[in-house]
Symmetry: C2
Amino acid sequence: MQYQIEKRDPKSSARSGKIFTDHGEIPTPIFMPVGTVGTVKGIHVKDLEEEVNAPIILGNTYHLYLRPGLEVLKEAGGLHQFMGWNRSILTDSGGFQVFSLSERRKLTEKGAEFRSHLDGSKHLFTPESVVDIQRTIGADIMMAFDECPSGDAPYSYAVQSMELTHRWLKRGIEQFKKSNPLYGYEQTFFPIVQGAGYAELRKRSAEYVASFDMDGNAIGGLAVGEPEEVMYQMIEVVNAILPQDKPRYLMGVGTPVNILEAISLGVDMFDCVMPTRNGRNGMIFTSQGIINIKNEKWKTDFSPIDEQGHCFFDLHYSKAYLRHLFVAREMLGPQIASIHNLSFYLWLVSEARRQIESGCFSTWKDQMVKQLARRL
Amino acid sequence: MQYQIEKRDPKSSARSGKIFTDHGEIPTPIFMPVGTVGTVKGIHVKDLEEEVNAPIILGNTYHLYLRPGLEVLKEAGGLHQFMGWNRSILTDSGGFQVFSLSERRKLTEKGAEFRSHLDGSKHLFTPESVVDIQRTIGADIMMAFDECPSGDAPYSYAVQSMELTHRWLKRGIEQFKKSNPLYGYEQTFFPIVQGAGYAELRKRSAEYVASFDMDGNAIGGLAVGEPEEVMYQMIEVVNAILPQDKPRYLMGVGTPVNILEAISLGVDMFDCVMPTRNGRNGMIFTSQGIINIKNEKWKTDFSPIDEQGHCFFDLHYSKAYLRHLFVAREMLGPQIASIHNLSFYLWLVSEARRQIESGCFSTWKDQMVKQLARRL
């Protein structure tokens, strides 16, 4: 993986750049649609390429490991082949899902024992096995196995957890270095900064993570219940330490406003289920604000879903029609809302990039954050 | 509406032709995807045009009347505008749904009183109101209000029901003739032949229907539980009477084999929920036979969904991947299966057309019916 910075915003830590993987070029800042079980829910790859314009998507190791399972993925020649996606893929390590979804998990020095949320079957994830699994999935960017404490974790737990994550990181990197890609293209490995809402821990963790000098670095364990101000503060602390010349990935964040604020703090990569999950429930993000499309007020509003939108669907379908689909519980409703929201998120980061390149990011961002959170 | 016959098969009653509406040209034989509540379930109009290649779709008057309702449809400028579909639309009369879906329906000479299956609200459909509703929906082809008795209706009931349908037809045509399109394009009106499984009644009904000399004629009340042989026999009886120079529409039918057999009996138009409904349950129709994609046997079959397929999805995605989507209950599974099945149905009728034009239809059909019903 290669990364190059192109421009820096004079008034903030925002920067534009490009990541290059064997599956193509990724302009940054970038948002990665979440493709949990080998599909971005409700969107086929053609629309993902042509309408959403996503250069990279995210897959969940935990879900893919359980279904379709490693045997199928290996025989398919990896996830790209399996799901018919020829652009880049990043996989998380499964850590977050083990701790949030699985049943009766048990944490040891060795790793995390858990029971599948699907059938109760018993499994063990270790820092090493999670590298092997991601080798089999064949992600361009693989993530370290970490523990993610909740937003209100007490200091003593946060320290312990961070130290365990650090020991796991060392083992993960060793496994990464002694293993090889299976499908003829390069894979890279990002470590993850933890430390909950404690600046001192975040600093220690960022220093430890930076010391490995990997191709890119991630910030985990944020947007898990802590106040937004704490999140921004942690990002600032961490980004002051993480190397400038490597992309920084803020995991699982967030709202359009969160994304712009984090870009201004020097973050380059994002993923979040919000545009698809909230889209499936009728929440439409636009540059003018947020629409609850189920609302009666859209019943006879025949204006386009998003007049400022950037995909076919935004201009082709009306608010009244999309509302009707949700009211009638037609699956096309969640489909259109998901495509629109992702297209909007991808537009937002590409516009942020354009503003950074023209030197106007900070002014633009201040204007946008006022608009983006409005309820229409 | 215009219709012209292009070729007749020398060995059967099959014919190829073209229907022209103000929304375009429809090659016949044709299959119309069912767009129940203003959407072909799970398929956006772009894919419907580009992948499925549908020149006409069907809307359900009963469903559209209840949701989004006439007020919204009228304000939208009709269903084409509302759903963003610029090709042709045919609407049924709602009769079938009133008798199959609604609660506490009451049949009188005047019409059918029923309670909505959604909220129990009380409504009355008459032969006249159903014309008015279809004027508001703005279908290119509107259908007469009929009663559709079950496949095993006793003779006495079938006679009564047919005679009621005939009286309703007369009233419907009067209402059609004295009303006008609302949106600046032409609408036409098809009468429906009834008569259950009784050749004598079908003959009487076809003669009555033919006497109105409308732009096209439909055959209703088949594939409602009677043996297939009875269905084919009824089609033959009816088509011997319905005018040659008008398109014939067999309502709600059917399997790929049913469609080819009916084409050979002189039918030109079809609709059925089978490709989408069965598709949503994992049944995949192909020219080689039928696939239950949930079956374990496809788990590691990485060959395309349909090697002989005609849309992007058929060749891009594998059987193993589609199976995975169904096993993981991902909405993309039903979406891909629906697009594939409709694309296959549209291919089937266009290939039938091509075979009629080259004079080889009957031989081809005999070969195809053997393949189409196979279980793969």
